[in-house]
């Protein structure tokens, strides 16, 4: 905890900001990338959103009030950036967001940066059928194993609501996979 306080102080100090920021990128780049990638699906879009996320963090670090963990704050920015990005894309292409997500996943087998097998493709298609909030909860819980308490900070949703979302998501995905594989 002391380390985090010191690190945040370095990030806010103009003399140490750049060096501390490089450390922050190194520490979070992979975790944030995979979090973003699961939302926007394409690598190029994930790359754009990741860069924008770090720039937003750099510019707004002074506004971070330290009431939540730095990790939660960074994740929240990444989540918001990803959702804003994908909503804008859907709007630009005159798609409803759920339809756009299905459209993205339907072309996943042609993506050079998707190396999953058939069952992993089915899993992504199953996730694409979920409402956006359930998608987020499922991805964060199932793949990233983020605790409900942390997820609550990131998504600013109660733990109970998150558990309910996860329950519905898991049941729908299980049914989808059973339908597709049997």
């Amino acid at each position: 905890m002391t380390d985090e306080i010191t690190f945040i102080a370095e990030l806010k100090n103009s003399k140490t900001k750049e060096k501390a920021f490089c450390t922050l990128i190194s520490k979070y780049k992979e975790r944030l990338y995979w979090h973003i990638r699961k939302i926007v699906i394409s690598h190029d879009d994930a790359d754009d959103v990741l860069q924008n996320t770090f720039i937003k963090i750099f510019k707004n670090i002074d506004k971070f009030n330290e009431q939540s963990k730095l990790y939660s704050w960074i994740y929240r920015i990444a989540t918001n950036e990803s959702i804003t990005f994908i909503n804008k894309r859907a709007k630009d292409r005159c798609f409803d967001i759920s339809e756009y997500h299905k459209e993205l996943v339907s072309t996943l087998h042609t993506d050079v940066y998707f190396s999953g097998d058939e069952i992993q493709l089915i899993l992504q298609k199953a996730i694409a059928t979920l409402p956006q909030k359930q998608q987020l909860v499922f991805n964060m819980k199932y793949f990233d194993e983020i605790k409900y308490s942390e997820m609550s900070e990131i998504l600013e949703t109660s733990v109970g609501a998150l558990k309910a979302s996860y329950f519905h998501a898991v049941k729908k995905i299980e049914n989808y996979i059973k339908t597709q594989t049997n």
Binding site: E18, L50, I119, Q120, L123, K171, I177
Partner: protein, 179 residues
């Protein structure tokens, strides 16, 4: 609810092995710090370029452009075909003469030497009819060839020969010529 979730999760994991299937380009994460730092420097660049247009520049800009276009649109000059042809006649005539001279000088000129044998009788007759010959002309041509012939000197002609010649010709013709 938790038990039911656990059961479903176990089923999903048994099928998908908890892998998204997503991957990244090779070494994508290696220089990400540099890429983001470059982008951050770009963000520090001024957004405005400092250029400024006069305050009323964009007011009525359509009218100004249209008026410029209408003024610059001049009446198209009509060139009549007949006038153009008449103007070209002197040039065509001059060109024909030049062509004629050139063809005669360069194209139709042959290296073949002209001899008396290459001329036809008609050509020689035409030339004789159309040109006045005097004795000087003939003497110049014949000087070397004929006039030096000793056969024509009267001193060398024998008397008998002259007598034979006189006897052979018609006397009336001679008398007529003397008269």
């Amino acid at each position: 609810m938790d038990k039911e979730v656990k059961k479903s999760i176990n089923y999903i994991r048994s099928k998908t092995d908890k892998n998204t299937g997503f991957c990244t380009p090779q070494n994508y994460f290696n220089n990400l710090e540099d890429v983001i730092n470059v982008k951050l420097y770009e963000e520090k660049f001024p957004v405005k370029n400092g250029f400024k247009a006069p305050d009323t520049y964009f007011n009525n800009i359509e009218d100004r452009f249209l008026s410029t276009i209408l003024v610059s649109k001049k009446e198209t000059k009509v060139i009549y075909f007949k006038d153009k042809i008449l103007k070209m006649i002197p040039y065509a005539a001059a060109a024909s003469i030049v062509l004629f001279i050139s063809l005669n000088s360069f194209v139709f000129t042959t290296d073949e030497e002209l001899t008396i044998n290459s001329l036809t009788d008609t050509e020689i007759e035409y030339w004789l009819d159309s040109n006045t010959l005097n004795t000087n002309d003939i003497s110049i041509v014949l000087e070397d060839e004929l006039l030096k012939e000793n056969d024509f000197y009267f001193t060398t002609i024998k008397d008998e020969t002259i007598e034979d010649y006189i006897n052979s010709i018609d006397s009336t013709t001679l008398l007529n010529e003397i008269n």
